[in-house]
Amino acid sequence: MSDELMVRAENVHKSFGPLEVLKGVDLAVRPGEVSCVIGPSGSGKSTFLRCINHLEKINAGRIWVDGELVGYRERGGKLYEMREKEVAAQRRSIGMVFQRFNLFPHMTALENVMEAPLRVRRESRAEVRERATALLDRVGLASKIGNYPGQLSGGQQQRVAIARALAMRPKLMLFDEPTSALDPELVGEVLDVMKDLARDGMTMIVVTHEIGFAREVGDSLIFMDGGVVVESGAPDEVLGNPRHDRTRTFLSKVL
């Protein structure tokens, strides 16, 4: 069954010391699906996203991406943690976009996008440059390829960050509140790029506060609170006819 899914999570638990942030999260995302995760801050949605590419080690449960167990190897019913190198290899096919962009400030936009394909995949420079230029053009920044991140607006930086993640040709993209650090007038340009990606058939998991985006672009909507998935389903269903009180309370505050 897991072969048909791009992402499958089963009973994922995560604690920071005594604080249990994830208390058994399940998730299934089909290839090409855009899955939006909403919920109050502290609900564990960002932590869960970071577990999917093993930036956070999970304490219990299992996560598969494209049929492959993330961060662990199963042998005789027991889980063994993978070596750093093997985890890095898994991360190559999972793109991630952060709330605070995290572009490399000492590299130009073009260098930011070229870095990973060059160093990690060791592809030829000419080929990478061509692809990186095309990607920056795709996110509308063809004229900014020589600029350093400090010379770009927040929206432009986030678009470079998306291009940087795409340069590794990921099969899955994780977005961690990609528009939360942006001035309101810059949110649209980033969402436009994400919509374009979704139309292209990219599998995406988007932690967001943009309910409008979730409704318009999302194939499924997940509402998390207190470290568990409270409710999930088609966006219109969850937003228009929430079954749980907690969902209703949250939506009444954000809508």
Partner: protein, 308 residues
């Protein structure tokens, strides 16, 4: 007059400067001609090149390299590496450089030969009834290796590594955590993340104090007098002074040489700092204006959301 205070200060300083110049010119003890005749003699220039310039370069190269290693150890997850790194910096920062150099200069007393191999080999051999078991890979006579230059280099470099470790550590810690995270998420290894993402950014914080350390190192090569290292600038100037009983002119010559050398380093430091501040601050903004201007002229869809 709009700034009477300023004019007053100028007047006072002018008088003081005149007094100083007067002393330089009229006091015979300066022996200017003698100084100029002697400060460029071949042994002094050789000492300057080998003992001061080459030593500074070697000691800093070794010190910075070892310092980076110790800083990375200090920040590692491994508690043993962390402890070793702490112990190292504690020792080499606690012992004065002059004392350290005297110790390194006399290590020959401790060992006539330095050998590497299995520790306690003879003792272990005796345990199994073998007499004089020697499991040594290689060795050398200390007099061959711990000559003045090597002893001095070791003393300066090991001590420098301790200071550099602290500087590098501060630099690495100044880089925002999201940077390493972004690199990790792209599938970069720990080493790549450190080399390509973290260290280049840490450089902005590391370079200015390293420049100061280099200048301090250049000056500290004069401490090699106590190893002793004879092929060194201050040793040679001091020797000429003592031999000719014209000590003061040679000390003035030393001041002038060190002034010249450190000034050269200051220029280098300026350009290095400019290079590593790429993408930050004032200059970045100035460059942005230039590039932005060029981009506007070139036209193109630089604006918002031109996708689809």
């Amino acid at each position: 007059m709009r700034h009477p205070g300023r004019w007053l200060a100028v007047a006072v300083l002018a008088v003081l400067t005149a007094m100083f110049v007067h002393m330089l010119v009229t006091n015979d003890a300066f022996q200017w001609a003698f100084m100029v005749d002697n400060m460029f003699r071949p042994p002094i220039i050789e000492g300057l090149v080998r003992g001061t310039v080459v030593m500074t370069i070697c000691a800093m190269l070794l010190g910075v390299t070892l310092g980076v290693v110790i800083a990375v150890m200090r920040l590692s997850d491994n508690p043993i590496l962390r402890a070793v790194a702490w112990l190292y910096t504690w020792f080499f920062r606690a012992v004065p450089r002059l004392v350290l150099l005297a110790v390194f200069g006399n290590l020959g007393i401790l060992w006539s030969r330095i050998e590497f191999g299995v520790p306690f080999d003879t003792q272990i051999g005796r345990l199994f009834g073998i007499d004089n078991l020697e499991l040594r890979a290689f060795g050398f006579t200390s007099r061959d290796v711990l000559t003045g230059f090597m002893a001095g280099l070791l003393g300066l470099a090991l001590s420098e590594a301790a200071y550099m470790a602290e500087i590098v550590r501060a630099g690495i810690q100044s880089v925002e955590g999201g940077q390493a995270e972004a690199a990790t998420a792209l599938g970069m290894s720990r080493g790549q993340t450190l080399r390509r993402v973290v260290l280049p950014q840490a450089m902005r914080v590391i370079i200015p104090p390293t420049g100061n350390e280099t200048i301090a190192m250049l000056k500290d090569t004069s401490l090699l007098l106590y190893v002793p290292v004879s092929m060194e600038l201050f040793f040679q100037l001091d020797a000429v002074g003592k031999r000719t009983f014209q000590i003061f002119p040679m000390y003035v010559a030393a001041c002038l040489w060190y002034l010249l050398l450190t000034s050269v380093l200051l220029v280098g430091q300026y350009f290095l700092e400019r290079h590593f501040s790429r993408g930050y601050g004032q200059q970045a903004r100035a460059r942005m204006k230039l590039r932005g201007f060029a981009a506007e002229q070139g036209g193109g869809g630089g604006g918002t959301g031109a996708v689809g």
